[in-house]
Subunit: 236 residues, 2 copies
C-alpha cells in the first residue's frame, strides 16, 4: 500500500470534520492522540533502557497531545519532564497541565539545561497548522533539538518543518532530523523527507471520513493505537 498524505489544508479540514459531523470532542481526540504518542515512545524506548523523557510542548494542539502523552508515560513508569513555556489560557490545556502536576511531573523552564538530564525527547512543539517562522522562545529549542545526540520523537511533524516541503533549506531547523515520527490520522507530505522510523496513530477515524479525505487507514494490530509504517509503504 502506498501511503497517501494529507496536506496542511486538508488536515485542518479533517480535524474540523471530526469535531463536527464526526461528533468527537477535542478532549476525546487529544486523549487518543496523546495515548498514541505514548505508545510510540514505549515501543521505541523500552523503559529499562532509559526512563527519563523530556516532553517539549508548543502552545497549540500539538502541545496538548504532548501533555496527554506525558501523563500516560508517567502512568507507564517513565519519568517525564515537561517544557511548556507558552501555556494556553484555554480550559482544556490548563486541565491537562493540572493532571500532570497531580502526578508530580515537573515543568521546566530551561530547555537546553533540561536536555542534560533526560534519555530521550518528545517534540510536540508544532503540528500541521505550523507555517512561517518559529517564534520566541522556540528558536533556541529547535536549535537544541538540531544539536542534541539524544533521540527525538516528533508528533505529526518535525517542528520547524514545512508541512508540504519538509525541512527548511537553510538556517534554523534545516538540520533537524528526528529519529521517530508519529503521524496523527494520516501522514503529511513532509514524510517524504523523513528518514527515521515512522508510525501512524489516531485509531478513531471512520472509513467514510478516510474515504472522503482520500487517505488510507493503516492496518492496526490487536489493541494497538499505533502502527509502524514500513519503508516500502513510503514510496509516495
Amino acid at each position: 500500500m502506498a501511503l497517501k498524505t494529507l496536506g496542511a489544508k486538508a488536515a485542518a479540514a479533517l480535524d474540523k470534520e471530526l469535531m463536527s459531523t464526526g461528533a468527537f470532542s477535542i478532549d476525546q481526540l487529544m486523549e487518543l492522540a496523546g495515548l498514541s504518542v505514548s505508545q510510540v515512545v514505549y515501543r521505541v524506548h523500552p523503559i529499562h533502557k532509559g526512563h527519563r523523557v523530556l516532553v517539549a510542548c508548543g502552545p497549540g494542539n500539538n502541545g496538548g497531545d504532548g501533555l496527554v502523552a506525558a501523563r500516560h508515560l508517567r502512568q507507564y513508569g517513565y519519568q517525564p519532564t515537561v517544557y511548556y513555556p507558552r501555556r494556553s489560557k484555554n480550559d482544556l490545556y490548563q486541565r491537562l497541565a493540572k493532571q500532570l502536576e497531580d502526578l508530580d511531573v515537573p515543568f521546566v523552564e530551561d530547555f537546553p539545561e533540561a536536555l542534560k538530564s533526560t534519555d530521550h525527547i518528545v517534540d510536540a512543539l508544532f503540528g500541521f497548522s505550523f507555517s512561517g517562522e518559529v517564534r520566541e522562545p522556540f528558536p533556541a529549542v529547535i536549535k537544541a533539538l538540531e544539536e542534541t545526540n539524544l533521540p527525538v520523537t516528533s508528533v505529526d511533524a518535525p517542528s520547524s518543518w514545512n508541512i508540504e516541503d519538509g525541512p527548511p533549506k537553510t538556517g534554523l531547523g534545516s538540520s533537524f532530523h528526528p529519529e521517530y515520527l508519529i503521524s496523527l490520522t494520516a501522514p503529511k507530505p513532509l514524510v517524504k523527507y523523513f528518514k527515521g522510523r515512522h508510525f501512524v496513530g489516531g485509531r478513531f477515524v471512520a472509513p467514510s471520513i478516510a474515504k472522503k479525505y482520500d487517505f488510507d487507514i493503516p492496518e492496526y494490530q490487536g489493541i494497538d493505537q499505533i502502527v509502524e509504517v514500513s519503508p516500502a509503504d513510503e514510496k509516495l
Copy 2:
C-alpha cells in the same frame, strides 16, 4: 495486597473529585474507562474465537462507558451490536452514539432477539450509582442475562446487584453471575460475591487521590489499561 473497595457514596465522591480538583473532563474519563472495558473483552474473548459482541448500555455513565467500548471493539475488528433503549439527551451521549453510527455499528431494539446472534455480551447497564429497582425496559434484559449461556462481561457492577450487598437475595437478578467483571478505578464491595475473572481498569488516578480515598492503585503492566486481579488479592 488485599484489595480495598470503594462503597457507592465514596465512588460517587471520587468521580466528582476527579472532575473537579482532578481536572478531568467526563469525555476524557469515559474514553479511558471505555477503552479499559474494550481491553478486557479483547483479553478474554480472542477475536478469532467469536467476533460478535452485544453491548447493553444503560441510560447513565455506565452506558456511556459501553458506547465507548463498542467503538474501540469495532476498531479492533469485532462486530459489535448495541442495545441502548433509553438514550440520554445529553450531548456527550448523543455524540458517542453518532460515532458508532459512523462506523456502521447497528443499534438493536430487541435484546432477547439480539442474544441469538452474538458470541458474548458486555453488560454496561448500571454502575455504582445504581440502587433500588430495575426500571422498564430493563427487567427483561436482566432476566435474559440471567438465563443466557453466553459469557457476560460486566462493567463496574453486575447490573441489578447492590453495590454493597451484591446480588439480590431473591427474584430478578438473584441468579445473575457474569463470567467477567471490570471494576473502574477501584473495586466496589460487591466483588466479594463475584466468582469470575476480575479486572481493574481506569489508569488515570493520581496516587494522592487514591490515598485520600483509601484504595490501592493496582500494578498495571506495560501500556495496559487493565490489570487482572488474582483471587488471592480478593480476600477482603
